[in-house]
């Protein structure tokens, strides 16, 4: 292997770029010899001090090593890259280009060998192992150092069975100031046929030529004619060649260019999917249905990772339809079940949710909703957790309706999740259960309401509000005495939402009682408004007394009067309005404001 230096590799294969010499004028030597197969032996003396060359190679190695160790924005890496650029820039003061032969562990030029300190981890070996034997650096290489290092980096990471090597990677990069020549090790031993010295054909004879022109030859019928097409004219007439028939008009060229542009924005994934679905519908390839489903199963996570929900949901819809086929075999059915199960795997879903959260993917609401609605119950904990933890209000807003739908489909699982040990999951499940009024979750919500965690009790109180269930009402009444103010407020609001007589009775007693007078204004308002929501016309008197009545020690406080006004605003009765109008000139501005709001509300309701 090490004997394959440029000197003993065969002559360079012409690639059509070799220039013929100019006929008269001497053309300056190109910066890179046309055959590029110069060797270090070709030079008598180096026009550059050895130290400068050694510095260039060493700086290149250092930059390559730094690239392995540091992130792109790391100042250490940037320092080494700058060093390499400077070393090469300096070379161009003395050299038009630098052509280097590559040996197993060294670079060679100008009769000198520059051995890599990194041995088999060094750059020479990296090039050598893939057959690269000559490198040519041109002025401007320093500008291409980044993509060059990118190739080096990728090449290092590739194992022996990888589908690329340094040659294929360099080719893709299209450097303009870096050239290379390589020995195609794969091609060694392939044979290439060559023409014989003399043509093998025998004389044809004038007679046969004339016969052929006249069409008297016993000529075979072309397949098209056999297929019923009219025969083509046999004798070529110059008149047939109207150039426009063959010439691409400018508008046709434009059309082709438009097609090329369109090609790069078309949804090739979608087109592949359509093909796979068409084959799923095709009974003549029934023996491939299982394979198609396996492919779809592999495409799903790939699409998810890209945030391509359009195609993801398309797969889910199509597979769901296919799964309804009564003639479906056990194998296909098993494949489909596996596919859906794998979709909800945490490692698959978490990637998608992560990209959704950081905005890397941005599906439409409909796509997101459709996708989430196809997920099975196994996915619910992770989805709920994500929704609870995200700081994006927009994401929460988008996920909520979809998760509500999932919750409706899998109510029993959702109810169980309210009791999950993971707080995020439990609270999120409680919120969903509340929104969708999942009665099956009532007991778990009550359990949550009695737990020590304040946040859990608050969520439970809010969620229970939607349950028209006696046990929910009991629990909420109980929560009105909770140690936490927020829980009490939530319970009051929750109770009002139940619209039950028990709620009216309980809230009425609170309005009458002393305890509420010691609460802060927010809690007072919550309790009075809750009472107003469930109160009837006969309760107006109580509230009127609090708003307008004189008491032994004077009027009620301004806060209580304001709260009573707000409660009255929620009662759709003329007496309530009368009471509010009577208080319209209350001396206290806070009360007057509350009365005005209450009247406005009464008017609209």
């Amino acid at each position: 292997m090490s004997g394959d230096t440029p000197a003993n590799v065969g002559p360079a294969a012409g690639n059509g770029q070799d220039r013929p010499d100019a006929p008269k004028r001497p053309v300056p030597a190109p910066r890179v010899p046309a055959d590029a197969a110069v060797t270090f032996e070709d030079w008598d003396e180096a026009p550059v001090p050895d130290a400068e060359l050694a510095d260039a190679f060493l700086s290149l190695e250092k930059a390559a090593r730094a690239r392995r160790l540091y992130q792109e924005n790391n100042p250490v890496l940037q320092g080494f890259m700058a060093g390499a650029k400077a070393a090469f820039t300096k070379l161009w003061d003395r050299l038009p280009s630098l052509t280097v032969s590559v040996d197993e562990l060294s670079f060679k030029c100008f009769g000198k060998e520059f051995v890599s300190r990194e041995a088999r981890d060094g750059l020479p070996f990296l090039f050598f192992r893939d057959g690269v034997r000559v490198l040519t650096f041109l002025p401007g290489f320093e500008e291409e150092l980044d993509p060059f290092m990118h190739v080096i980096d990728r090449s290092r990471q590739m194992g022996p069975r990888a589908s690329d090597d340094i040659v294929t990677l360099l080719w893709e990069e299209e450097f303009s100031a870096f050239q290379y020549s390589y020995v195609d090790l794969f091609a060694a031993g392939d044979s290439v046929p060559h023409a014989p010295a003399q043509p093998s054909a025998q004389p044809v004879g004038r007679g046969r030529i004339e016969q052929a022109i006249a069409g008297d030859e016993d000529e075979p019928v072309s397949p098209a004619v056999e297929a019923g097409e009219p025969p083509l004219a046999q004798i070529v007439s110059r008149d047939q060649f109207v150039e426009t028939t063959y010439f691409l008009e400018s508008h046709e060229v434009e059309e082709l260019y438009r097609e090329v542009d369109a090609e790069w924005v078309r949804d090739v994934r979608g087109a592949v999917l359509s093909a796979l679905f068409d084959r799923l519908d095709d009974p003549t390839v029934a023996d491939r249905h299982s394979e198609v489903i396996r492919i779809l199963g592999q495409l799903l996570p790939a699409f998810l990772a890209r945030g391509d929900l359009k195609n993801t949901t398309t797969i889910l819809k199509e597979v769901a339809v296919f799964a309804e086929d009564p003639d479906l075999g056990d194998e296909e059915r098993g494949d489909i079940e596996r596919l859906l199960k794998e979709l909800a795997e945490p490692q698959v879903l978490s990637q998608f949710l992560g990209s959704l959260e950081d905005g890397t993917v941005n599906p439409t609401d409909e796509e997101l909703s459709t996708f989430l609605s196809y997920l099975g119950p196994d996915a619910m904990p992770m989805l709920i957790r994500t929704m609870e933890r995200t700081e994006s209000a927009r994401l929460r807003e988008r996920m909520a309706p979809a998760l509500d739908e999932v919750g409706r489909r899998h109510g029993r699982v959702l109810a169980m999740l309210v009791a999950a040990p993971d707080e995020f999951v439990a609270y999120g499940a409680a919120r969903i259960a509340g929104r969708i009024r999942l009665r099956a979750a009532t007991n778990h919500l009550i359990g949550l309401l009695r737990r020590d965690e304040v946040n859990g009790r608050r969520v439970a109180a809010e969620a229970l509000a939607g349950m028209a269930d006696p046990s929910a009402v009991d629990a909420l009444q109980e929560a009105l005495a909770d140690a936490d103010r927020e829980v009490r407020i939530a319970a009051a609001r929750g109770l009002s939402a139940t619209k039950t007589p028990a709620a009216r009775e309980k809230l009425g007693s609170m309005v009458r009682g002393r305890a509420i007078r010691d609460a802060d204004l927010t809690e007072q308002m919550a309790v009075f408004e809750a009472f107003g929501s469930v109160a009837r016309s006969e309760d107006v008197d109580l509230l009127d007394r609090l708003l307008n009545g004189r008491r032994l020690l004077g009027k009620s406080s301004a806060e209580i009067r304001s709260c009573a006004a707000l409660a009255l605003g929620r009662i759709a009765a003329p007496e309530a309005r009368q009471s509010l109008l009577a208080a319209a000139k209350d001396p206290n501005p806070m009360v007057r404001n509350a009365v005005a709001r209450a009247l406005a509300r009464a008017k609209t309701t």
Binding site: S163, A188, V204, F247
Partner: protein, 485 residues
């Protein structure tokens, strides 16, 4: 006839291509502007600015500029410029201006100034006799204008010899690429049939090499596709479809990396056949309906097979579609049948065109009598039932000429000839370059000679030679391959 190839030293691409193409386009634009507008017109001034910018950019890299017209090719210093649909009109125009004045080379040195381009361009667009003395007249005018830093050399006969040498080298390179690619195709398709892992690295190198050849050496590599080998049909067909697809793709202005993707897919377009019983695929006789049913499955099999081909950076969707859609006609008849809406991709239609052309011109298991290539092209272009994209067929004809390379033909001189290159002038697609292989009496020439069928006989004002009939070379005992290898 076969000899083992030494592992050749392969070179990366030269760097002057884009600059050279821009230069020719800028000369074209400036010459056109000069022709239609006065010097002070903004169009002329803008064109001059653009031309001077490009000249300076090249001079920043190279010490001097030498633009040479050698035969039908144009060189910028050491780089032979390749052309595509977007610039071949400019190339043709600039080449015609140079020929008109007998100019073989333009030389510009690094001290060139913008205003020095003005007299040069003015003289260039002027009419000239095109005959003897044209160059001298041009040179005299240029010298009398005292234009410095830009001069010209005459076209010479030596150029033709050189281009022949150049063509020989190019042909050899194309041959090595072609046969290595066939080896690769054989290896990977056999591996696929046996369920073994495919050596994608080798495939990629092969396709990269074909892309390089198509970009730099199109005539030679396209000529290789006319070497039909019945025994190797499966493998040569894959490589041929790859080459022909790339040739079409180049005319559509695809970038090198886009061509690479097209080439990879095209090479694998028939991989589905490797999942079908070889006895059916290679059956010599008529296929039964059931067997045809299996053959019709190969696009589906290709779609599935390519998905499992691991080692590619990502799922090769476009290649999967090329395999799946290459038998769909433009009206979506053909096979497989679609239920859902489908518009075959441009790449699939390119592969369909290339596949249709190569398959119809090849002898293969279930087609003993191929059509001649010109028949096939006419059929593809004129018969809508064949279901080819008419613009892509035109692009193909643009690349191959009306008489593609490898066609055997009888000339109006009663000589027999083999087409070896299309005419580089896009207006003379029906007048290819041929190799005359027999004299008018039908005696095979030991030393065949090349002829340009667009060459005019000054005595008659008509072409010296024209094709009057294309023939099946096999029936005349002519081995076309001998004229390419």
């Amino acid at each position: 006839m076969n000899r083992p190839a030494a592992a050749p030293l392969v070179h990366s691409e030269t760097v002057l291509q884009p600059l050279g193409r821009s230069l020719v386009t800028a000369v074209y634009a400036a010459a056109k502007a000069f022709k239609f507008y006065p010097l002070e017109n903004a169009t002329v001034q803008n064109a001059l600015d653009q031309l001077f910018r490009i000249v300076r950019r090249i001079l920043d890299r190279e010490d001097t500029i030498h633009v040479r017209l050698v035969g039908d090719f144009m060189f910028l210093n050491e780089a032979r410029l390749r052309l595509d649909l977007s610039d071949y009109v400019s190339f043709s125009y600039v080449a015609s201006l140079l020929r008109r004045h007998g100019i073989g080379q333009i030389n510009i040195d690094k001290d060139i100034e913008r205003q020095q381009l003005v007299p040069f361009l003015s003289f260039l667009i002027e009419e000239a006799s095109g005959g003897v003395g044209s160059f001298e007249a041009f040179l005299a005018r240029l010298e009398s204008s005292r234009t410095k830093n830009i001069d010209v050399d005459p076209a010479t006969e030596i150029s033709d010899e050189l281009i022949t040498e150049d063509d020989e080298r190019a042909k050899e390179a194309a041959k090595v690429t072609y046969f290595q690619s066939v080896h690769v195709a054989r290896e990977v398709l056999t591996d696929a049939r046996l369920g073994r892992a495919v050596n994608l690295r080798r495939v990629k190198r092969a396709v990269q090499s074909i892309v390089d050849q198509v970009l730099n050496n199109e005539t030679s590599i396209l000529g290789m596709t006319s070497l039909r080998d019945y025994d190797e049909y499966t493998f040569t067909h894959s490589v041929n479809v790859c080459i022909i697809s790339l040739v079409i793709g180049q005319r559509l202005g695809l970038t090198k990396l886009q061509l690479y993707e097209l080439g990879l897919g095209a090479l694998f377009h028939d991989i589905g056949k490797q999942r079908i019983d070889a006895a059916i695929v290679n059956k010599a006789g008529q296929l039964t309906n059931e067997e045809w049913g299996w053959i019709r499955r190969h696009p589906t099999e290709g779609l599935l097979a390519l998905f499992w081909m691991r080692g590619l950076a990502e799922v090769p969707y476009r290649a999967m579609l090329m395999a799946y859609e290459h038998h769909m006609k433009i009206d979506l008849t053909g096979y497989p049948k679609n239920k859902r809406p489908r518009l075959p991709t441009l790449f699939s239609r390119i592969v369909q065109t290339a596949d249709g052309f190569d398959a119809a011109t090849s002898k293969r298991s279930y087609q003993h009598q191929p059509w001649t290539a010109d028949e096939v092209l006419r059929e593809m272009r004129e018969n809508p039932k064949r279901g080819f994209d008419p613009l892509l067929v035109k692009a193909l004809i643009n690349a191959t000429g009306v008489f593609p390379v490898g066609i055997a033909a009888i000339l109006d001189t009663f000589e027999m000839a083999v087409v070896v290159a299309r005419n580089p002038d896009p207006k003379k697609l029906h007048q290819p370059i041929v190799r005359i292989i027999s004299d008018p009496m039908g005696i095979i020439l030991a030393d065949p000679l090349n002829a340009d069928l667009s060459e005019i006989d000054p005595a008659t004002g008509k072409p010296r030679r024209s094709i009057i009939k294309t023939v099946d070379a096999d029936r005349f005992g002519i081995n076309v391959a001998e004229y390419f290898l």
